[in-house]
């Protein structure tokens, strides 16, 4: 599937975005619930990294924010498994072009925040899950910055972790995104400190755990 057929969306709103070019969706929702969704990455699109933010727009005007917490690459067809072929990627492209065409990348995102039609941002689960076949977009730094203090979503992540995801590693990746989304390193550090405080309250006396996370961020 190529992205050509998808009508590109314009940036969310002039006040929140400085992007001039229309953005192309990176993926499409293929399974969803109020807590999380699966999306298939479009061919040729960059797979969103573990711990980064993606967003999905609802026809109702809601914008849902999800954290990429699990990425998978595998066969498109459930009854076909990838096998070792002993060829380089270039050789595969030249002589077995179907092999790469039959692979797909999917990711699961935990939905931990949403924006109401009036623009209000809430760091909690959305009223309804994203629609199947809805487009998923990579979040721009301004989206990520908006998802900052009070960092209530960190509480959701820690108290109701996805059993299939090592939550501390997800936190390491999320905090890294918090830092890099800021335009200046000093702002990044300030955001990190605030997020760190939230985590320290969440972990109470478990300093060892907090230290282990923070050590891996910086």
């Amino acid at each position: 599937m190529t992205t050509d057929s998808h009508a590109p969306e314009t940036a969310p709103s002039a006040s929140r975005s400085t992007a001039v070019l229309p953005l192309a969706p990176i993926a499409e929702v293929i399974e969803s619930n109020t807590r999380s969704f699966w999306a298939e990455v479009y061919r040729g699109m960059e797979t969103p990294a573990f711990g980064t933010w993606v967003r999905v727009n609802q026809p109702t005007g809601y914008e849902l924010y999800g954290l990429v917490s699990h990425v998978e690459v595998g066969s498109v067809e459930p009854n076909r498994r990838a096998v070792a072929l002993g060829r380089t990627e270039d050789e595969l492209r030249r002589e077995m072009p179907h092999v790469l065409a039959l692979l797909r990348t999917t990711f699961r995102a935990q939905v931990v925040a949403y924006r109401e039609p009036d623009g209000r941002l809430r760091q909690t689960l959305p009223p309804s899950p994203p629609q199947i076949h809805a487009f998923a977009y990579a979040c721009e730094p301004e989206h990520v910055c908006a998802l900052g203090a009070p960092f209530d979503y960190l509480r959701t992540l820690v108290s109701n972790p996805d059993p299939a995801v090592p939550v501390d590693d997800l936190l390491v990746a999320v905090l890294g995104t918090v830092y890099t989304a800021q335009a200046h390193p000093e702002e990044g550090e300030r955001a990190l400190i605030r997020a760190g405080r939230v985590l320290s309250r969440l972990f109470r006396d478990d300093h060892e755990r907090l230290q282990s996370i923070l050590r891996r961020v910086v």
Partner: protein
């Protein structure tokens, strides 16, 4: 339910019978090999004999010595290879209204390049009175399975032609590969003569379009059961003159592929033969089907495949070598079967759950429109056996 104890006795007999047959075939094979060698130097005489005698068996027309062997050549790069395959949901006698589904895949690979492959399948739902009627056998009420299969074959060839036209790149060699035979002998089995003629006319028209567009087409037959070349050797041995068939002294029952398994080295192809199938009379001379046998190499299970080509491809040495090299390369990548045909099959196949879903959707569509859908009680009882 299968009573395995009762079956066991029959299996013992089966084993004994097979080993006896194998011994017989081994003897016949040696005779056939000797005959093939003997007619190598005098094949023109044999050709004259095939034209003169009417042995009542299918004997190919000869163009060269039947013992000729050709080594593999190198496959050009880049090269375009296209394929199509089809599957169907036959009309179900237990479901009303009568309808059926054809699903035809289209595959195009631009080997040696990084160009994106084409892989798709196109379903065609047939339910209109004229569509169902056209395929209905005058004797049977429902559109019979044979007719639907014939219609699917036609759709496959049409899809292959369109895909070849679409995928063709100026200056790049191309081969269109089909699965199964290009000889429509199965149409003869139909009882509807007028329909047979219509289907055959449409099929040969499509074959003629490949020729008109200079799109070399070949079809691949795995484990062919043909005996035409063996029949030729029987003629050479004078078996047609015998008043009564002497099973023990004859080559009867031996298949061509066993003969060529002994004469062809891995990757080699046999001589080209012209099929003498009666239905070929309906084919224009330039699209009459010819064939050669090919030793498909495989570390565990090598096999002799049959490759069919129209006359205009057989007459062009360059195209013949191209088909030979492309089919071999396909088989090597596909572990003994053309890779692109496997992909075409994968795209075309309708799995059991998809078939069930199809009927569910038909039923839902009718129910939504307030119309009846009738699945017979017999069918329902098969789905829900009780104790």
């Amino acid at each position: 339910m299968l009573d395995l104890h009762r079956l066991q006795v029959q299996f013992k007999d089966f084993g004994a019978y097979r080993s006896l047959e194998e011994t017989r075939m081994a003897v016949r094979l040696e005779r056939a090999l000797a005959a093939l060698e003997a007619c190598d130097g005098c094949w023109e005489e044999l050709r004259a004999l095939t034209e003169r005698e009417k042995p009542g068996w299918l004997v190919p027309a000869l163009r060269e010595s039947p013992a000729a062997v050709y080594p593999r050549g190198t496959r050009p790069t880049p090269v375009t290879v296209v394929a199509a395959d089809g599957s169907q949901i036959y009309p179900d006698r237990h479901v009303e209204p009568t309808c059926f589904l054809l699903n035809v895949s289209r595959i195009a690979f631009q080997y040696g390049t990084h160009e994106e492959p084409l892989m798709e399948s196109v379903p065609a739902f047939r339910y209109r009175r004229d569509e169902v009627d056209e395929l209905a056998d005058e004797v049977a009420v429902d559109a019979s399975s044979e007719v639907v299969s014939a219609f699917r074959d036609e759709q496959e060839l049409e899809a292959l032609l369109e895909t070849a036209r679409r995928a063709r790149v100026e200056g790049r060699p191309i081969v269109a590969l089909a699965d199964g035979t290009l000889i429509r002998w199965m149409l003869r089995a139909m009882r509807n003569r007028a329909l047979e003629e219509r289907l055959l006319a449409r099929y040969t028209r499509l074959l003629a379009e490949f020729h008109a567009d200079r799109l070399p087409i070949a079809s691949y037959i795995s484990m062919p059961g043909n005996t035409e070349v063996v029949n030729l050797l029987r003629l050479h041995r004078g078996e047609h003159r015998a008043a009564e068939l002497d099973e023990e002294a004859s080559l009867v029952g031996l298949v061509d592929r066993r003969l060529f398994a002994r004469t062809l080295a891995p990757g080699e192809r046999s001589a080209v033969f012209e099929s003498a199938s009666h239905i070929q009379r309906e084919y224009a001379p330039e699209i009459r089907i010819h064939y050669f046998y090919l030793h498909v190499p495989h570390p565990v299970a090598p096999e002799i495949a049959r490759v069919e080509i129209p006359a205009w491809v057989a007459d062009d040495g360059g195209l013949l070598d191209l088909v030979h090299a492309v089919v071999l390369s396909e088989c090597e990548k596909g572990e003994g079967y053309p890779l692109i045909l496997s992909e075409a099959h994968e795209r075309a196949v309708i799995r059991a759950h998809e078939r069930a879903l199809f009927y569910e959707l038909v039923e839902r569509q009718l129910t939504t429109s307030g119309l009846p859908f009738t699945g017979s009680n017999k069918q329902a009882s098969k789905r829900r056996p009780t104790v």
